[in-house]
């Protein structure tokens, strides 16, 4: 109970929001629109899983938004050239992985601070893409939409895939050795080394992993509509980092889990539709998001302070 205080408090906050919605705007809970909203967040969830790993490993990746855009556009272009989905999907994941590898190489290989490295790659990728596409949409062939399935079939598939990934990764972080390595490295890289783990390699792989997940998420996003906007994914990094942190993953590494990150994402993702349903003006949205982030960390800070005193 004490151990999962943070996760539970996020779940409680989420519960409160949902309860509020149930009381004042029950229309929120119509199955079809809700499924659509969840589907829209599915790619974000995939990236958030990767970000949780990166932050648990005591790094950060603010280039995911740009990676997402690059993967989306490239995948869209390949699709437009007639590549089938079975090829575009791995190609996008591979592209993401190689973008992640650049970050990983710089961070793990040269021991550069990840926040600065990924700041640089974020700007470089984003502007490179702008230069290359000038904001022009990419039109995708029809057979790509919903992975070639029916709409609801596609939606369930995407949501299912995102959930499956979350569950597999969430369990793997606890029940597979590699997951524990990530925690170990994030907690104390030197102790990890003494325990026979290679911190550099773990860091490198974690960046590749988030890259691959971002590539995957890009596909999950572009199949939801027939056009790819090069700007898509802008601001994704902040959304995802905020979600992960609100969900109790410590920015100093080693603490937190994917379930918390998931709850955090749901909470933040709820804000915007909740405002719409409660007929609150949109200009409150950012302030409320900021307040949620601050409340979450302040609650945690107050608690850990009390604990260290007691």
């Amino acid at each position: 109970m004490k151990k999962y205080f943070r996760e539970l408090s996020v779940v409680a906050a989420l519960g409160a929001v949902l309860l509020g919605l149930a009381m004042f705007a029950p229309a929120f809970f119509q199955p079809q629109p809700l499924l659509s909203l969840v589907t829209r967040e599915a790619p974000t969830l995939v990236v958030a899983c990767g970000m949780a790993l990166v932050i648990i490993a005591r790094q950060i990746d603010i280039s995911v938004g740009s990676q997402f855009s690059v993967c989306s556009v490239c995948a869209g272009l390949l699709a437009a050239r007639g590549w089938p989905l079975v090829l575009v999907l791995p190609a996008s994941a591979l592209l993401g992985a190689s973008l992640g590898a650049i970050n990983g190489l710089l961070v793990a290989g040269l021991r550069l601070p990840s926040i600065v490295v990924t700041l640089a790659t974020m700007v470089t990728l984003r502007q490179g893409l702008n230069l290359f596409r000038q904001g022009e949409f990419v039109n995708m062939p029809d057979k790509f939409q919903w992975l070639g399935l029916s709409q609801s079939g596609g939606q369930w598939t995407l949501v299912g895939a995102a959930f499956a990934l979350l569950i597999v990764l969430g369990l793997a972080m606890r029940h597979v050795a590699a997951g524990r390595f990530v925690y170990a490295v994030g907690t104390d890289a030197e102790a990890a080394r003494l325990a026979g783990i290679r911190p550099g390699r773990v860091t490198f792989l974690v960046f590749i992993f988030i890259g691959a997940l971002t590539g995957l998420a890009a596909i999950m996003n572009i199949v939801q509509s027939p056009q790819v906007q090069p700007l898509s994914g802008a601001g994704l990094e902040l959304k995802v980092i905020a979600a992960v942190v609100v969900g109790g993953v410590a920015i100093s590494g080693g603490r937190g889990n994917l379930w918390g990150a998931f709850a955090g994402l749901l909470l933040l993702a709820c804000v915007s539709p909740a405002l719409t349903h409660l007929h609150i003006e949109a200009y409150w949205e950012k302030a409320i998001q900021g307040a949620i982030i601050l409340l979450a960390v302040v609650a945690d800070g107050v608690r850990s302070r009390k604990e260290s005193r007691g």
Binding site: M122, T124, A242, W284
Partner: protein, 343 residues
């Protein structure tokens, strides 16, 4: 002393000097490729004095934010909220002047006070609750911008500022753009604070070793608070200059400026891990980015492609990576060498 000579050599190869060389090279490059004579026989482009003033004028706000961030990053902290705080203070300044009917100076002082309060919120959360600055300021980044939007409903734009105020942002005084004087003043003040007072010394100490600073009896929390409050004050100042330059105060003022400012600081050689770095390095970083951006806009090739914005972003990112790699290269080489010897 026997170490004098290598020290002298090391100084010529210090990060700041290298950056200065890059800056000079950049400037010369653009001077020769970005300057032309137009049909009327007037020299135009990068090489003109007006151009230099524009560069100065355009870098004042981001430069101020970079100055605000330098002490913060020296303490191994970060402040993502400066750009949002700029927006909020611009709005409040407009509101004080326009809606509350206060005079410009009073409104400005109040806006700066609000900046200080914004910084104090960051400081309070970071020092009393020991929360990581990255997260706290990520929250206030959203909160401050959100408040600016909520106050104005996103819609209200304060304009029609008096000429005497716009003078600050749009005219020249004693040969230089007016705001450049203010910028210079802040730069000198921050430089003195960081390099010539015990405050700066404490910032570094805290950045290198917070434990060491505490055990040495330095008032760690007070110094940290100072750094964030100062960042708030300087952001508010930047808000006023921004308003004067554009003649309008709107909730989106300064969007994305924090990233530019952080980039400039890091490019200027301040370690994101805290402790080492300098204010003049930051100024050089700001200049290097500004010259790059403006210079590219003067290159005929780039202009025809309509790619100044993208190119400058691209090259700034590349420059940053290059600077970072360069800064660790000697260390890496020196760790490789002993390994090779026994083989």
């Amino acid at each position: 002393m026997s170490t004098d000579k290598p020290a002298w050599k090391a100084r010529l190869l210090s990060h700041e000097m290298l950056l200065l060389y890059v800056l000079i090279a950049e400037w010369l490059f653009f001077y020769f490729t970005g300057t032309t004579t137009n049909r009327r026989g007037v020299i135009v482009g990068f090489g003109t004095i007006d151009r230099q003033f524009d560069i100065l004028r355009h870098s004042c706000e981001i430069g101020l934010l970079a100055l605000a961030l330098t002490p913060v990053i020296l303490t191994a902290g970060i402040d993502l909220s400066v750009g949002s705080l700029l927006g909020l203070c611009a709005i409040l300044f407009g509101k004080f002047w326009h809606d509350a009917g206060l005079s410009i100076p009073v409104a400005a002082v109040l806006a700066i006070g609000c900046g200080a309060i914004g910084g104090a919120i960051n400081a309070a959360l970071i020092t009393t609750l020991r929360l990581p600055p990255l997260i706290v300021t990520l929250g206030t980044y959203s909160l401050f911008r959100g408040l600016a939007e909520a106050i104005t409903h996103g819609a209200v734009t304060y304009t029609d500022f008096p000429e005497s105020f716009l003078f600050l942002g749009q005219e020249r005084w004693l040969g230089l753009p007016t705001q450049a004087w203010l910028f210079l003043l802040v730069a000198v003040a921050v430089w003195l604070l960081v390099h010539r007072t015990t405050f700066g010394r404490s910032f570094r100490t805290i950045g290198f070793s917070p434990g060491g600073a505490r055990y040495a009896g330095l008032p760690v929390n007070r110094r940290l608070a100072l750094v964030y409050v100062l960042a708030g004050i300087i952001s508010a100042l930047a808000a006023i200059i921004y308003t004067a330059r554009l003649g309008q105060a709107k909730a989106d003022a300064g969007t994305g400026y924090e990233l530019f400012a952080i980039t400039a600081v890091v490019l200027g050689g301040t370690s994101i891990f805290g402790g080492s770095g300098s204010v003049h390095g930051t100024l050089l970083g700001v200049a290097a980015i500004a010259v790059l951006k403006n210079g590219l806009a003067c290159l005929p090739v780039v202009m025809r492609m309509n790619a100044a914005e993208e190119m400058s972003g691209l090259l700034t990112g590349a420059l940053l990576l290059l600077a970072l790699t360069g800064s660790v290269l000697p260390k890496i080489l020196s760790t490789l060498r002993p390994r090779r010897q026994p083989a």
